[in-house]
Subunit: 421 residues, 2 copies
Amino acid sequence: MQKFGGSSVADAESIKRVAKRIVDTRRQGNDVVVAVSAMGDSTDDLLDLAHAVSPIPAPRELDMLLTAGERISMALLAMAIKGMGHEALSFTGSQAGMITDATHGAARIVDVTPKRVRAALDQGAIAIVAGFQGFNRGTGDITTLGRGGSDTTAVALAAALGADVCEIYTDVDGVYTSDPRIVPQAKKIDFIQSEEMLELAASGAKILYIRAVEYARRHGVKLHVRSSFNNNEGTIVYNPEDGIPNGGNVEEPIITGIATDSGEAKVTVVGVPDIPGKAAEIFEIVAKTNANIDMIVQNVSEAATGRTDISFTLPSGDGQRVIEALEAEKTSVEFLSLQYDDQIGKLAVVGAGMRTNAGVSAKLFRSLFEAGINIEMISTSEIRISVVTRADSLNEAARVLHTAFGLDGEDVAVVHAGTGR
Amino acid sequence: MQKFGGSSVADAESIKRVAKRIVDTRRQGNDVVVAVSAMGDSTDDLLDLAHAVSPIPAPRELDMLLTAGERISMALLAMAIKGMGHEALSFTGSQAGMITDATHGAARIVDVTPKRVRAALDQGAIAIVAGFQGFNRGTGDITTLGRGGSDTTAVALAAALGADVCEIYTDVDGVYTSDPRIVPQAKKIDFIQSEEMLELAASGAKILYIRAVEYARRHGVKLHVRSSFNNNEGTIVYNPEDGIPNGGNVEEPIITGIATDSGEAKVTVVGVPDIPGKAAEIFEIVAKTNANIDMIVQNVSEAATGRTDISFTLPSGDGQRVIEALEAEKTSVEFLSLQYDDQIGKLAVVGAGMRTNAGVSAKLFRSLFEAGINIEMISTSEIRISVVTRADSLNEAARVLHTAFGLDGEDVAVVHAGTGR
């Protein structure tokens, strides 16, 4: 199973390059199934058109519209492969048996029945499948899987077909210990546990979508994140229960990677009466706005006033909406005021080795303290420590911790132009 | 049933204009089904991409690719209608039950089962159907209907749904007695028999495709060709067996229209042995090139040599191919030489009234003779006379005959910018 994103198939030349790569894999004796995204920015172009004809495009029609994008790229890719003398057949999500629920724009996969894909492989053909799209049996309508949908398509098909590996092709060499644009000493990770990958993705690493990683973990699919611009080995994402992949280092590092996220903001609800149920009230109001809140911190109550402050972080884009919703309920919740701060940075240190190694948080706090970087919020999981700093200290914090936890590589990582998805 | 071509949905503004028109028709109490073509030149853009990735794109994949075009326009149109507060649902060819054979690029319709379209109408929704595309049950693959396919989609759906009328929206006011760019006195025809329309379409009138007219004739579908830029009545294409439509003039004119075609060339096979079977040999060779030959003229054999000349016309684009094929068989056919002439013009005078009126051909020959225009070839059907002239006399010939047969209108026809399809 291989997946190519939009930047890998942005124009006719790229499509031919990808086709050659696919044919090479086939000629090495592998059955090949490919999930492909829409060309370059074509999905954004279609979205612009949709908003030009209707302020709030109907979700069913939006899915119908957007799925035209992968239809174009997959047909071109199949043509290019056939032009190189190898049999290829393209399939829409519906033809490939990607059965979903009926939620337009963010459908969940309920079944994968890739009969036609299997038949194509049995004939010796390469199967090209449209990423991102599915089909609901009840309504007979076309659906889309939402953000990162093509990764999910690839993983779901890999699981259903029992593929040896699901290769996610991108424009960087793999998963790095940190973003090389921020930490020049960042190095490529050869092997990473799926749980660590999940924490990194959730903390701002853009290379893989959480949903695809989660699906891969649940269905035992081995992921290989690699570059479509060279033949280097990339990063293998594996389940530790399945054992460490061939060639894997048995000595696992305590810290695997550091993710940064500068797109978050902090909301503080000041002077909340410290009585049971108030936090629930606040987060019910926030939940109604569909904002994706992340870290939550509640200060110790001041005995004198009987009031406390509650802070939480969320994507900056959701800020306005949440502030308005809370302001509207100020009287009923009885808080005193709201503070909004979008000059924050979020950083997460992730490593499965944390489970068995004490002292990680102590080292983290000491390193940042010595660098003169103030920590504003802290939250932890079993294998992750996240901290919030001022936005302008974020990159420095990442570099300091990268060095402190021994992640620095010997060479400076090469960053491709246009890195990112 | 309404059909809108690519120029009517070329951009967001046009789509909103068309949406408004459709909603108006619905609000007048009609059930509305719309067949729509791909936006503007988007089909050509997709074709260019296909040829950029593969010199001879695989037909199955080409159909997969091109059908993305109507998917985009139909989804946008449905969104725009919903944005105006009316329920609308878009359907692909397959969802609308356009069942075809498996011939990619030029599929024939074998069945039309518009269950979902009917259900949408029963719910009070407007149904938007992708033109040009179908679905083959045997292979499970997407097909396209070939040139003029969206007209055919509209007519086939109108027949299957028992629509009162199939309105073909275009960028001119209807069918004209001749091309107004060539004959300024041309006037709009209010009513035309389907057989006459067939002859005009076959003789170069671009307004409707032969196949859609033929389908309409066989299934008793009334066509209304009209402008998408105004509310004027256009041209009704009807079957005389069904009676003349309301308001129709019972006195039918002898000549209904004059079509011109400057895209043809003439091939003359010189010195063919005048023995049985030679013409068959020649046209078998031509048939293998898939060239679309039209008029055929064989001269009287010269007694002295026992040889004759055979001339035929064909679209200029097919010329090269046919000349090469014939040249390759020169020895076996034993002809002397080939002549190729692309400086010809073809003109057809069409009218069901010819059946009962003698003297039409005499009048035609005299009028052209008096205007000093030489006729190079002649061919006739029951309701049509076609002649070939020099290319540079074609327009003049059309004007002379338009006047001679009393077709001139009082006003000069208004020609829209960008007339034609």
